[in-house]
């Protein structure tokens, strides 16, 4: 059993699509924000996979760097979105 670049990109595409599905399916906009980290995670997996399998001249850290930035950006976007939504009644 092995996994190549195409497998990684398939999984990344599935994560992005699931995140988009969460964003459009939830009626509550604060719940729809949960789709953003999934989409960003999918993008990060694609970057890491491209660096892992398609790099020449040694394994680069570029994909890891972009994945780190995407994870931090996802956290910031969720915090910002929920901060704008504000406190109120819970469901």
């Amino acid at each position: 059993m092995t996994a190549g670049l195409v497998s990684v990109l398939f999984v990344a595409a599935a994560l992005v699509a699931v995140g988009a599905f969460v964003a459009v399916w939830k009626r509550d906009l604060t719940a729809a924000l949960a789709g953003l980290p999934l989409m960003f995670g999918g993008a990060g997996v694609a970057f890491v996979g491209a660096s892992r399998f398609a790099a020449a001249g040694g394994p680069p850290a570029f994909g890891q760097e972009v994945a780190v930035l995407l994870a931090v950006a996802a956290l910031a976007l969720v915090a910002l979105g929920l901060g704008i939504a504000g406190r109120g009644t819970s469901r």
Binding site: F10, G19, W25, G41, V48, G57, P60, V72
Partner: protein, 162 residues
Amino acid sequence: MDSLHAIGFYVSAAISIGGGLLVAFLPARESRGVALAVAGLGIVGLYASLSAGFAGLVALVCYAGCAALVAAPQYRVMESVVTGVWRQVGAVAAAGLFGVLAYAAWRGDFVHFAFYGGGINSASVGRLLFAHDTLATEALGALVFVALVGATAAWRLRDRSR
């Protein structure tokens, strides 16, 4: 990639995608947060199986924070005015997005991609983050700071107005 890493990759992929689907379909806020944490664990496992341990460590912290924020009970409900038909159209569009991306992954010619980087370890990632791309790292740090300050200010202002 050897068999052990490949098995870890596919298991992590199933966990992350399953967790994402649970985020979409679970009704309660707390359970959605748990499902997002499970999906985040799957993504961390994907990073780890792709030899990106440092990114996985950072992603673990970030997804734990995202799950805690999503599961927090203090936020008000903001109902969308979009009707059920348009939600179904959006779901079909998400499936179409997966089809397009999967077709691009299948037919794309990624073999000739070349990147001439250095070694891959925590030190090299740190050098990229804090030396080569310091500006982007600082900008994201500022974005996180502003987001957290804005969220805190919004909470306090709303409490004072009651």
